[in-house]
């Protein structure tokens, strides 16, 4: 690990000033991903500004019936919260399907969103990687690509975003609240993470020193019937090959409304808008679900080692939606 200065401020404004003065510094919260990347010397900040105690660790009711999740809420508390489990079960399930009990206790909501890809080349400083070292090349394009992207990738980077929580939040129309040198702003969760394009080193649209302070979940009655399905190599404690977050409202056998997002397939949590459009007002049948999944995945460009992800994603979408129809009976 490279040497760094550890700093704590009395308030958020102080923390922002500290980071503004440290162009190679970064914020520290739970540290479960950052400290690991520092050990690997993938991350080499010279200043860490600890913000774990400066941002909210509470889940609060919003006047519109939604919930505000403080950025320092641990993943374990968020998954266990009775309001989340009742109103947004897909989010609780997504969190519980990720990492381990120990890691969920340390990891925060904001940090979960900002975790980096687990592409093996990104984590191995002896290999070229455009995300870690812009311009050095992508080792995965001619290497081990089994776990990598099938949608939205660029010749510069085929990494996937590893979060389960973010996939559920993408399906739930969540909104990220940030505070930075330029003031406060809100970003739809689906707009927080970027596709790699020519700048795979930038995972998100956040500027240096901009801090996630909370995530808002809007009221979404159909989310009371929602579900997260994760497919992986082990039954527990493994990243997704493919995951599906879905919420479904069916009236008289017809789909009135739906939310659908995919994980493990792209550089960002993938909101399946094409599938959603195909599903609205369609009969809630296996055929509709399959057709919608195929519409979404028509744009997929699998790599030599991960072509299995396309039928796997299709089948997981279909089975998750069928489960939700069954649950409603």
């Amino acid at each position: 690990m490279r040497p760094f200065r550890y700093q704590r401020a009395g308030d958020l404004a102080g923390a922002m000033t500290m980071l503004a003065q440290a162009p190679n510094g970064t914020y520290l919260a739970g540290g479960t991903n950052l400290v690991d990347l520092m050990k690997l010397e993938v991350a080499t900040p010279d200043v860490l500004v600890d913000v774990r105690r400066l941002v909210s660790d509470r889940i609060e009711e919003l006047p519109d019936g939604g919930l505000r999740i403080g950025a320092a809420v641990p993943n374990s508390d968020l998954a266990a919260d009775p309001r989340i489990r009742r109103r947004y079960p897909v989010l609780s399930q997504a969190l519980l399907s990720g990492a381990s009990g120990q890691l969920r206790n340390l990891a925060t909501t904001g940090g979960n969103l900002l975790q980096r890809t687990r592409c093996v080349y990104f984590q191995d400083v002896t290999t070229p990687c455009n995300k870690r070292e812009p311009g050095s090349g992508c080792s995965a394009l001619e290497g081990y690509d089994r776990e990598l992207a099938v949608l939205g990738w660029s010749p510069a980077c085929v990494a996937t975003h590893p979060s389960d929580m973010a996939v559920a939040m993408a399906a739930l129309d969540a909104v990220v609240r940030t505070q930075g040198p330029g003031g406060e702003r809100t970003i739809p969760l689906t707009g927080l993470h970027r596709l790699p394009d020519q700048e795979p080193e930038r995972d998100t649209v956040l500027e240096h020193g901009e801090l996630i302070t909370a995530v808002d979940l809007p009221p979404l009655p159909l989310a009371a019937r929602s579900r997260y399905r994760k497919v992986r190599d082990r039954a527990s404690y493994a990243f997704a090959l493919v995951s599906v977050a879905a919420a479904l409202e069916v009236v008289g056998g017809v789909i009135r409304d739906v939310r659908l997002a995919l994980g493990g397939v792209a550089h960002k949590p993938w909101r399946a808008t094409r599938a959603e459009a195909a599903l609205r007002d369609a009969p809630a049948t296996r055929e509709s679900f399959r057709g919608a999944a195929e519409a979404e995945l028509a744009a997929a460009r699998p790599l030599p080692g991960n072509a299995f992800k396309v039928p796997l994603a299709r089948n997981t979408i279909v089975s998750t939606l069928l489960d939700l129809v069954e649950q409603a009976r």
Binding site: G31, V35, A79, R85, G101, Q102, N105, Y237
Partner: protein, 166 residues
């Protein structure tokens, strides 16, 4: 940096490099070696300790960031000469072979049983059930962050189940 750590009921003042993990501070600086270094990347659980009562990987925690926490290691679980019930159960069930992962397993199980008492669900819990039934599948899922290279799982699970059932 000069820091204070509270470990197993005792306060320690020490000067550490900011890069020192909580695990290295415990083992290398304070001589508290019950927390073990396995992978050092948060993947094996051998370094598990309780931070303010919650299980956590001490290899991913920076010592400077956890000065105000109450840290409990497996060595601090016993009440005097009386081993913790989970420690007794691990012995009774022969829930280890080499023993390297055992302190982490036991700290993790202590934290896990608290989580169950608090009503926390797991990935294998019935979403519609109000109470957790801690069967084998639940224990395996909840303990998946603790690897045992000797594969003593067949005895670890019953050891934990016995204590949970009391």
């Amino acid at each position: 940096m000069e820091i204070t750590l509270r470990v197993d009921g005792t306060r320690h003042r020490l000067v550490v490099d900011t890069r020192t993990t909580l695990l290295d501070a415990l083992r290398e600086r304070l001589g508290i070696t019950s927390a073990k270094k396995g992978c050092d990347h948060g993947q094996c659980g051998a370094c598990t300790v309780l931070l303010d009562g919650r299980r956590a990987n001490s290899c991913l925690a920076l010592a400077v960031a956890h000065q105000d926490a109450e840290i409990v290691t497996a060595a601090g679980l016993a009440a005097g000469e009386e081993p913790h019930p989970l420690q007794r159960a691990f012995i009774a069930h022969d829930a280890f072979q080499c023993g390297y992962c055992t302190p982490g397993q036991i700290c993790s199980a202590v934290g896990m049983l608290e989580e169950v008492r608090a009503g926390w669900p797991s990935a294998v819990s019935d979403p519609d059930a109000d109470e957790v039934v801690l069967d084998e599948a639940e224990i395996a899922e909840r303990m998946s962050g603790n690897l045992c290279r000797c594969a003593a799982y067949v005895n670890i699970v019953p050891a934990i189940a016995e204590v949970a059932g009391r």
